[in-house]
């Protein structure tokens, strides 16, 4: 028995902020103090508070240390683990109260959250199946195989109201019932772990923090539709996730949760991983299946839908990682429990990857129907440097922006569509007043132009033309007709593209025009970028009255655009200036302005 457990986040976020070195240092220090048989070190998945990584939690006290560095380890070991004195200086400051510590659940970041899909992330050791089992792991699979018929499983999922978390929000139970309907010698269950949206990392975090939940859920899906083989399609750029899932599959096979005659029920199911090389279009369901088959990942026309002819032309079900992560709990806690969370048409919770101009960047899970305001202001801790909220982008390159006027709309599938965005997979990027909406639209279009597979013309050429128009606008070279042209093109592409990539690509443009038309007009008519982002439309000036002639700017200008004598006001040569902003950053007197 260990008298203390130390959990350290080994997710991708904390790993890149150095958690591996912290674990190393801790293990060495424990050994040095002869504590290795008393204190257990566990490498977990993501806790969600990535901005404060590396994160370390010590039980039984539940002390939550943030931004831990290897240099801090000797103090934590000798003070806390040996002598039992919590090192308050290193705690997550919000948990420190006068003489006690607050539990994590009571901090602003966690209080309004509800963890269903992320239930085990940051709680268990993802490389040890026994810890998953301790938290009721594989109970749902056992229940399904020994007490329920496939039809009952499907009915339960239907009754729960669960909808796909991969983007479109299709009812999961219904999808399973379609695939169950077709008789075939072979059917397949697939998992979409491609996660190509820039800024999204929910699925990765589930795979890294709780890989067994996916295995269990896919086996349940296999039983429900009558499939004996599953594939997880995961991008090779997620090495930690791939490793943990591989370990979990191996352990699950050894324990008999995968393989033949599971739970003595006669049901066989096995699972394999297929690596994708990171093309956004491969997240589209038909392209994904084509890619698993070993071909170039291009979409194919539907119908036939995958439920009828999917992978290898066999009836198949494809679901997103987070969708699956809800399944075992729906089975164990019941459809009514799940349906009691959320809004009328969107049940359960949603995980968001919170990023951009926000204090607590990280992973949050909230009940459907939570307002954007709660997420940004309370959970996210607001916007840094006292800046004002301008908009949030959901749904990545397929979605749209939500302006401040809609901060109080309860977030669910249908409300997001109504205000011109979409749930998408759950990327949520917060933008402040310094963000230019034309520039944002251009950023996403650039992404789709790159990622369009080129199979169909509206998407391949259309998105390129849209990008060119946006580029013209951002450079002050556009006319008002171009704005109409952009709008027309957007609708044409939406209606005529073969797959979801093209069909949704214009969304960021349409929604920014809808809410920030005046900003487009300012670029076109006044040749002005109100947020001061578009380089072509602004210039740097030195205010003679403030310039002390310290020469610092001139010495830092990479292209020698600044001239002037010592102690005399300097000037910027506009024809040489590349608008890098270095001078403005360096000037100690605030003499340099841009407009």
């Amino acid at each position: 028995m260990y008298r203390s457990h130390v959990l350290i986040c080994g997710g991708t976020g904390c790993t890149s902020s150095g958690s591996a070195q912290v674990i190393d240092a801790l293990e060495k220090e424990l050994k040095k103090n002869d504590l290795e048989n008393e204190i257990k070190v566990i490498r977990t998945g993501c806790f969600g508070l990535c901005a404060l990584g590396p994160i370390m939690v010590v039980y039984p006290e539940g002390a939550f240390y943030s931004m831990v560095r290897p240099e801090d380890i000797p103090e934590i070991v000798s003070e806390h683990l040996l002598k039992g004195r919590i090192v308050k200086r290193l705690l997550y400051q919000e948990t420190v109260e006068a003489d006690t510590i607050k539990t994590l659940d009571n901090t602003d970041f966690y209080r309004k959250q509800m963890r269903v899909a992320l239930k085990n992330c940051g709680v268990i050791d993802p490389e040890n199946i026994n810890e998953y089992i301790a938290y009721d792991g594989y109970q749902a699979l056992g229940k399904v195989l020994t007490e329920m018929t496939p039809a009952q499983v499907i009915d339960t999922i239907k009754a729960s109201g669960l909808r796909g978390r991969g983007g479109a929000g299709f009812p999961t139970g219904l999808k399973w019932s379609f695939a169950a309907k077709y008789d075939n010698d072979q059917k397949y269950v697939c998992c979409n772990a491609d996660e190509g949206d820039p800024g999204a990392f929910m699925d990765r975090s589930i795979l890294e923090g709780d890989p067994n939940v996916l295995i269990e859920a896919m086996a349940i899906a296999g039983y429900a539709i009558g499939a004996s083989q599953g594939y997880v399609y995961i991008r090779a750029e997620y090495p930690i996730a791939v490793k943990r899932l591989s370990i979990a599959i191996k352990e699950a096979r050894e324990m008999g949760f995968l393989g033949k005659d599971i739970f003595g029920s006669g049901f066989d199911f096995d699972l394999d991983i297929r690596l994708g090389s990171g093309a956004f279009v491969c997240g589209e369901e038909t392209a994904l299946m084509t890619s698993i088959e070993g071909h170039r990942g291009e979409p194919r026309p539907r119908p036939p839908f995958p439920a009828e002819k999917g992978l290898f032309q066999k009836p198949s079900v494809l679901n997103n990682v987070e969708t699956y992560a809800n399944i075992p709990q729906i089975i164990l806690r019941g459809a009514e429990w799940f349906a009691s969370i959320g809004t009328e048409k969107s049940k359960g919770t949603k995980v968001f990857a919170l990023g951009g101009k926000i204090n607590n960047t990280g992973l949050v899970e909230v009940p459907m129907g939570t307002t954007l305001r709660t997420i940004v202001e309370e959970i996210g801790g607001g916007i840094p440097n006292g800046k004002k909220f301008k908009a949030a982008q959901t749904g990545g390159p397929s979605g749209g922006c939500i302006p401040a006027e809609h901060l109080d709309v309860p977030i669910d599938y249908d409300n997001l569509i109504a205000i011109g965005s979409m749930m998408g997979s759950g990327g949520l990027i917060v933008m402040d007043e310094d963000t230019c909406m034309v520039d944002i639209a251009k950023f996403f279009l650039e992404f789709t132009v790159d990622e369009s597979c080129g199979k169909c013309t509206p998407c391949r050429i259309g998105t390129k033309r849209m990008y060119e128009l946006l580029d013209k606008i951002s450079k002050g070279k556009a006319r008002m007709e171009d704005l109409d042209q952009l709008d027309k093109l957007a609708h044409y592409i939406k209606e005529n593209s073969l797959c979801g990539l093209g069909q949704t690509a214009p969304n960021p443009v349409l929604s920014t025009i809808r809410y920030f038309r005046d900003e487009y007009v300012a670029h076109i008519k006044d040749k002005r970028c109100p947020a001061g982002v578009c380089k072509e439309l602004m210039n740097y000036y030195i205010d003679e009255t403030k310039c002390k002639g310290c020469t610092l700017c001139a010495r830092n200008c990479p292209v020698g655009a600044i001239s002037g004598n010592v102690k005399e006001p300097h000037i910027i040569n506009r024809s040489k200036c590349i608008k890098c902003g270095a001078c403005m950053e360096k000037c100690k007197f605030g003499a340099i302005e841009k407009h």
Partner: protein, 123 residues
């Protein structure tokens, strides 16, 4: 895995190993004073004996922890036992053997080992 019952048995066993990560469960807590004075007086082996005895007996809802100086340095090593719904009991001048007896009699059987308590020793 052949049956649900087998899985449930495994779960219960595994859950016990992880018990201390559950911070809201009501459970007995043993706290050993581990400040410099305590360590100098031999608190380390006492702490280890508590952990060992609790583990041997499979008392997975009992947490063994440490704390700083309790302020009665002449009585070190000191251990405090907190049981749900009861007053805290302070044991003084602990040894490994005493620690094992406290687990057996106080934690398991609910009888305070009066002769080791601060009351019996403060003269």
């Amino acid at each position: 895995m052949k049956s649900l019952a087998e899985l449930q048995a495994l779960r219960d066993k595994m859950k016990n190993n992880m018990g201390i990560r559950n911070d809201d469960e009501a459970k007995a807590r043993i706290v050993v004073g581990m400040a410099t004075c305590g360590i100098a007086a031999g608190a380390r082996p006492v702490l280890a004996a508590f952990t060992d005895e609790v583990s041997k007996r499979g008392l997975n809802d009992v947490a063994v922890g440490q704390t700083g100086c309790i302020g009665i340095c002449q009585y070190e090593p000191v251990a405090e036992v907190f049981m749900p719904g009861q007053e805290k009991v302070t044991y003084v001048k602990m040894t490994e053997e005493k620690a094992r007896r406290v687990v057996a009699e106080h934690i398991v059987n609910g009888n305070v080992v009066t002769e080791y308590t601060i009351g019996a020793n403060a003269k």
